[in-house]
Structure formats: structure tokens, C-alpha cells
Symmetry: C2
Subunit: 194 residues, 2 copies
């Protein structure tokens, strides 16, 4: 029996990221869950920002942004970056900041993974600006890089320890590994062919 | 010390959902992680599909789709729906299907949460079609609905037990609750004002 709860964008769980942009010559970071993957080759990710957000100014100006994935040890400062606007608080001193090849997408050294992005599409919808960025470089903290099949990959999600958000306004950590992609469904396939 | 891993869209963790559409008169479901929130009022979500996907045909035809969030108990069939195309396999019998007010967005009864969506924006990028959908109704299985502050809400993510995916091609379950939104950062705010 289903209950109608009205109009809620109940996609869950969602990643918590810190979107970075240079605004008026200073690095600024906004906490958001409106971020995801749009393509793989070349890789595309999006962020959705309120058009009046401080961060939005910087992305508009430089057409670049970063996506920084904080571990749970950064929960307090990550939540803080979602509570206050860069219009009122200078967030540039909260983190150790570095830049990559684009030069205008500030990234957070304390985050284990950083994506440096060039805007390839932008549009307005409602009071939002949505930016689709092509990843020009992916930075991973050395301790989380592993050799896999002769090339460099990343440690499991449980080691990366990201912050997960639900629309219940709670933060969660990731739980145990439960399966492998394109493998768990093989039983169904065989039953289908029998 | 950061290592450059090249161009990887390493946003994580990502939700695993089953996107539903009626294709050639039959319900079809595609497993994807390229799904997220784009706006809140009214609620907007997106899905990104390969332009040649079977599901894409149905969304193009009806300009509607559903987002169904499977619990971990549906891992095998969810993985299976990502392994085979509706062009070759009829997926309409895998689930108990129901429809809502739009009439053309098939939803999965076994999923605890279903979003019924009307396309409000669509665009092509690379080999993808991206559909932004406005949620016209959110369906939640009765056992997961709770009363909160005099209105209906949902149980915690740990009860909903969604499937989480990482770009390590592993599935995970959700872990423990670690904090409350717009609350964990208060210590930073007070330190700032002191």
C-alpha cells in the first residue's frame, strides 16, 4: 500500500560535496547535495546552485568549478559551509586550498578526492543555475590510490568514508559492501535463459 | 600529496535507481546512478540516459518517467536490469507495476519510494539525453511513512535501506547516522563569532 506524500524529490541517498569557485578573487566553497554524474566519456558532472548564491557568481565569471568530496572527519566544517554564505563569511581560510591546470577552480587539500571542472553547458531553471562540467583532472590523496589490473584506481568507498545525506536532514556514513556491479544479476540472467 | 588519476567523474557515493518508462506499450526499467536532485520548489530531478537506450525511446514519446529507489533486498534484479536491454529482454514481468496520475510512467510496487515525473527540460550532450523531470507525485510504502511535527514524513535512510554505488563497481548499504543537517556546523559558527 503506497501513500502519496506530495511533490518531494526523494532521490536518496545523495552525496555531500563542497563545490568550489573563485569569487571576487577569493576561494569560496558551498556545501550541496545537488551534484551527480551526467556522462562518462569524457566525464561530465553537474552542480545545481541558487542563482543568488555567492558561489554562482564565481562559476559564471570563470566558467570553472571544483567538486570536493569531504570525508566524515570534515562533517562539522562541511555542515558549516552549508549554513553560511560567502557573502557574509570568508571561507577561504577554512581549508588548505590548491589549484590545478584551469587556475580558477580552488580545491580543498583535506578532501580525499577533488574534481577540477570546466563548464560545458549551463542553464537556468526555476531560481537555479545548473552547470554541467567536464572533468579535466581528478585528484586523489596518495594514501587512497591503489594499483588495480596494472593501472591506478581508488580504495573502496568504505576507506574513502564519504558523507551521505538523506532528505530526512540526517547525515550518514557508508555501510558494508554488499555486491559487485554487473555480477549480482547473473542468477536472473541464467534463470531467464533456462 | 595528491595523485592525478586523469579524467574520472568521481562523485560518490551515488544512488542506484530504476528509471521507468513505457516503451512500445510495455513498462521498461533501466538501472542507473546518473540521477540526482536539481531543484526543490517545485521539485526537480534528472536522469541521464544513452540516446540509444531502450528507455530513452519511451521518455521521448511520453515526456514522462519514474524514478524508483530499490532496497538492498532487490539487489540481484536491480543489477540484472542494468545488464540487459529492454530491446532484448521484456522486463515488464520482473516487478508489480502501477501507474499514477500521468498514466505513462510505470512504477515498481516493490520499491519503497517512487517518483512520478513530467519532463520539463531535455537536452543532448555527448551520446546522452538528459531529462529534467518535475515530480508530480511521490509514493512511499505505508510502512515507511511516519508522522513528524504533525505531517507525514519518511523513516530514516537506514530503514529505507537503499543501494549505494561507487565508481569502484561495488554496491554498498548505508551505514550509521552521524549527524544532523544545519546543526553539526554550529560549533564553527560560534568559534567564528567569538
Amino acid at each position: 500500500m503506497k501513500v502519496k506524500l506530495g511533490k518531494i524529490p526523494l532521490v536518496y541517498p545523495i552525496p555531500i560535496v563542497l563545490a568550489g569557485a573563485d569569487v571576487q578573487g577569493r576561494p569560496n566553497f558551498a556545501t550541496l547535495g545537488d551534484c551527480g554524474i551526467m556522462g562518462l566519456n569524457p566525464p561530465l558532472v553537474y552542480i545545481s546552485l541558487h542563482r543568488d548564491h555567492h558561489t554562482t557568481q564565481g562559476v559564471e565569471e570563470h566558467q570553472t568549478f571544483s567538486v570536493n568530496v569531504p570525508p566524515t572527519s570534515l562533517l562539522a566544517v562541511t555542515d558549516y559551509c552549508g549554513m553560511v554564505s560567502g557573502q557574509e563569511v570568508d571561507k577561504s581560510g577554512l581549508f588548505e586550498v590548491f589549484y590545478g591546470e584551469l587556475g580558477t577552480a580552488p580545491m580543498i587539500a583535506e578532501c580525499r578526492v577533488n574534481l577540477e571542472c570546466q563548464v560545458v553547458k549551463a542553464f537556468g531553471i526555476q531560481q537555479r543555475r545548473v552547470y554541467v562540467g567536464q572533468v579535466v583532472q581528478t585528484y586523489v590523496e596518495e594514501a587512497y590510490v591503489v594499483e588495480q589490473d596494472g593501472r591506478q584506481g581508488i580504495k573502496p568507498m568504505t576507506a574513502l568514508d564519504p558523507i551521505i545525506y538523506g532528505l530526512d536532514n540526517r547525515y550518514y556514513r557508508i555501510g558494508e559492501m554488499i555486491g559487485i556491479g554487473y555480477h549480482e544479476g547473473k542468477g536472473y540472467q541464467q534463470a531467464d535463459e533456462a
